[in-house]
Amino acid sequence: MRLTLHMLISHGRVARKMGLNPQSRINMLRNILTGLVRHERIETVRARADEVRFYAEKLIDYAKKGDTDEKAMKMATFWLTEKDLVPKLFKVLAPRFETHTNGYTRMARIPNRENLDRAKMAVLEYKGNPFPPLYPVKKENQLTLINQLLKGYKEEKARQMLN
C-alpha cells in the first residue's frame, strides 16, 4: 500500500486501537458488554471500560425502543452473546432507566492491578444495581456539636420571627 505521511503520524486521532484489528476490537467489547449486562458491575482495564461505556449506553437507548422493534432486537442479539440476557435487557434495564436520558453507567478508577503489568484498572457499573455503592454515601450526623448548635440557632431564629 501507499506509505503516506498520514499513516506515520497520528496527531489528533482519538479512536483507540484494541486487539488485532477492528473486528477483534468489536468482539472484545461485545464480550465485556455481555459481562456488564449479566453482572451489572465489572472491573477491567481503563481503556476498555471507557470504550464499553459508549456501547453500553447506546444499547440501553436501543432497548428503550421496546422489544417489538426490529432494529432494537437485532442490536440486542448481536451485542449480547449470551441470549438469556436479551429478556433481562428489555425487561429489567430498559424500565430501570426510563426516567434517565443519558448517564446510565458509572466508571470509577481503581488502584492498579496487582499483577506484574500494574495495569490501570477501572470499575464500570450500571446505575441502580443491587450491590453496595462504590462511593460512600455521606450521612450527616445530627449529634455532632456544630450540628446541634446550628439546630439551636435555627430554632431561636424561628422563635424570634414568630414574636
Binding site: R38, H39, R41, E82, D84, L85, P87, K88, K91, V92, R96, A108, R109, I110, P111, V123, P130, F131, P132, P133, L134, Y135, P136, V137, K139
Partner: protein
C-alpha cells in the same frame, strides 16, 4: 668398509623415513605452515596487480566483500565519557523520579489514596461483599445462563421488603447490614 658405511647410511635413512611416517600418522608433524590463515583483503596495502588480460581484470574486480570489511566501518566511541557528562545524562530531569502531590488519606478508613482513584481498602471491602452476594445469587439461580427478568434487591438479617421491592427477586444475606451499605 665401503659397504658397511653405505649400509649404515641406508639404515639411518630408513629409520628417519619410518619416524617421519609415524609422526605423520600421529599428526605431530607440523611443517612450516602459518599459524593463522585469513581469507580477506591483504592487511597491508598492495600495489595494483601487474597488467593482465582484460578477462582476468573483469573477473578479479567483482569479488564478494570479505568478512572483515564490515568491522572496519562500525561506529565506535572515540573517547571515554567523563563522569561529569555521565552524571548530567543520568540525572537529567526527565530521568529523575517525579514527586506525586495528589495523595491524600481516605476520609472513611484513613488509608492513603490518590485523589482521582477509589480507596483500595474501601473498594476491597465492597468487592468482598459483592462476591458474597453473587455467591448467594448463583446458589439461587442454580446453574449458568439463568438470568431472571426481574430486578434484584439484597436484604440482611431482620429486614422485610419495602413497597417498591415487592416484585423483585430477594437475595438474603445472613448477617447484620453493614454501616456503609445503607438502603
Amino acid at each position: 668398509m665401503m659397504n658397511l658405511a653405505a649400509l649404515v647410511h641406508n639404515l639411518r635413512c630408513s629409520l628417519l623415513h619410518i619416524e617421519s611416517r609415524l609422526l605423520q600418522a600421529a599428526g605431530l608433524d607440523r611443517q612450516l605452515a602459518p599459524a593463522l590463515a585469513v581469507n580477506g583483503p591483504g592487511l597491508l596495502p598492495q600495489l595494483p596487480p601487474p597488467v593482465e588480460d582484460e578477462m582476468d581484470e573483469q573477473q578479479s574486480l567483482e569479488q564478494p566483500p570479505g568478512i572483515l570489511d564490515g568491522i572496519l566501518w562500525m561506529a565506535v566511541p572515540k573517547k571515554r565519557r567523563t563522569i561529569e557528562i555521565n552524571r548530567t545524562r543520568r540525572r537529567a530531569d526527565a530521568k529523575l523520579l517525579k514527586v506525586k502531590n495528589n495523595i491524600e488519606p481516605c476520609p472513611e478508613c484513613g488509608h492513603l489514596k490518590q485523589k482521582h482513584i477509589l480507596c483500595g481498602f474501601c473498594y476491597a471491602k465492597v468487592c468482598r461483599e459483592t462476591s458474597l452476594i453473587r455467591q448467594q445469587i448463583n446458589a439461587m439461580e442454580g446453574g449458568p445462563l439463568r438470568a431472571p427478568t426481574t430486578e434484584t434487591v439484597v436484604l440482611y438479617d431482620g429486614e422485610t421488603p419495602n413497597e417498591q421491592d415487592k416484585d423483585k427477586r430477594i437475595v438474603e444475606r445472613g448477617r447484620k447490614r453493614p454501616a456503609w451499605f445503607s438502603q
